[in-house]
Amino acid sequence: MRARRLRVALGVALGLALLAYPAVFTRPYPRDIMIKIFLYALLAQAWNLLGGYCGQISLGNAVFFGIGAYTSSALLMRWELSPWLGMLAGMGLAVLVSQAIGFPCFRLRGHYFAIATIAIGEIVQTIMINWDALGGARGLSLPIKPETFVNFQFHRAKWPYYYIALGLFACVFALTALVERSRPGYYFRAIREDADAASSLGIPLARYKLAAIALSAAFTALGGSFYAQYVLFIDPESVFPLSLSILICLVAVLGGVGTLWGPFLGAVILIPLSEATRVYFGGTGKAVDLMIYGALIVLVAVFQPAGLAGLLGRLGRGGRRPSAPLPAAARAGTG
């Protein structure tokens, strides 16, 4: 009971701190870092629904991100549609595409599924690079509009973007928490642990895997539309690359796959870290920042394969079980 109260108090304190952040940090740069943290936490949480809870390792989630970014931007440029509506359209399109991807690919297991998602990502990126009506390799520069909430553009200050990013992440976080406790959430985990056993107990595998990828695609597209409105420039190289798919997955893995707090934790660590290495070691074309980044990934994978959530969980138990077995979540990818 006390532990529960403590957790609620910690959650409320974190929420208040996040709400007060722009009042304390008034410079654009610290706000920008927090916006990126929310965005990547959201994307990793979306990946987590499919890869973490349901155990289907996708290395192609950038496809949904790009669909979100391109749909809202194209609708804005062609028909002056508010990006908020474009965001919904992008989510809908991403869900449709996710079903078209999932329907054939969910027959594949483990590495075959992961490589199929890489292949799809590469195909989609190549198509977008050659699709001249959507800007091709040059990308799309979004028109500058008066700054209003409906236009989803704010030029003078970053705080509106901050609160929108926080709000979107909070929504996705809350929905994930709901899914985690719902019947589909338990089915997802059953499929991850042992697809054959889950199937023999009467769980329709295809339907729940398709549901997981639909959720994942919708939320990832949401992040894509937000990104387009925040940066106001998109091209296939920035919204569809394999490296983005991997980064999304990496944030979740670093934080702890199949856990509610993992993606946020991963983003809180990884984004400032990559910013710091970029600021202090980057910019010379020497790629020292990426060397550090790569080495850190190896170290985390070798020494903390269950992610940081696993580490915190271990500390939370007072270090009584130093050789505690990995959380089942970390064994994702077998089904």
Partner: protein, 287 residues
Amino acid sequence: MTAEIVVQSLVSGLLMGFVYALIAAGLSLIFGLMEIVNFAHGEFLMLAMFATFWAWTLGHLDPLVALPGSTALLFLLGVVVYKGVISRILAAPMLAQVFATFGLAVFLRSAAQFLWTPDFRLVQNPWVSGRLSLFGIFVGTPQLTAALAALAAFGLLYWFITRTETGLALQATAQDRQAAALMGIDTERMFALGWGIGAACVGVSGALLVNFFYVFPDVGSVFALLAYVTVALGGFGNVPATLAAGVLVGLVEVLVGLWAPAFKYVGVFGLYLAVVVWRPQGLFGKF
């Protein structure tokens, strides 16, 4: 488009296919042994190419002379990577394994950029250069050399894993780690050997590619993607099948490239999806 151009392209696709097959064979061998996909395989290839390039620039050794050295160096790299990283994560979840090798890939690529800058480099006037005409079809001599040497290396690899005692021990370990250990096979040694040989395959491929391909830190990424597709197409862990799959990838690449050059890799990836949706275990794979 004349028939001549099509035949010409098919021949060049076939030649590249043998090189793809050798690169993929190393990946497949490692996967068959321990179910780990080496996401740094492309970076291994990049290092082999740079090693050959520097042997030519600094030591004035032709890439073909440097080939044994590059192979040995990569063998060593494979063993070191196994001992230093992979042996610690054999029992780790799949995602941790993916990211261990992926992080290694980022590290190696950035280290290459740090040490040698992102410039594109080319070996000028190697021994094999120019082209020759076979029955009216022009073939690049470096490409032909690479294909023949890759085929020879592939044959050697096949002979090694099917005809020598060590090779059989390697196969036994791939089939059942515990049973192999009970039969007195040092599985730890076999794993290290598997990584060494897997990396040595790209050591050979890299030295051959340097004769007609630019060398730069990012060069591995395209070859690695094709290698993943080749391995999965043949069936993970099935080394002989990668030869057929590699040739198929080479042929599809040039055929689609003839019709729409920008989409040649779309053709390869599309082929992969079509095949695995039809046969989820790959063309020659087993569950």
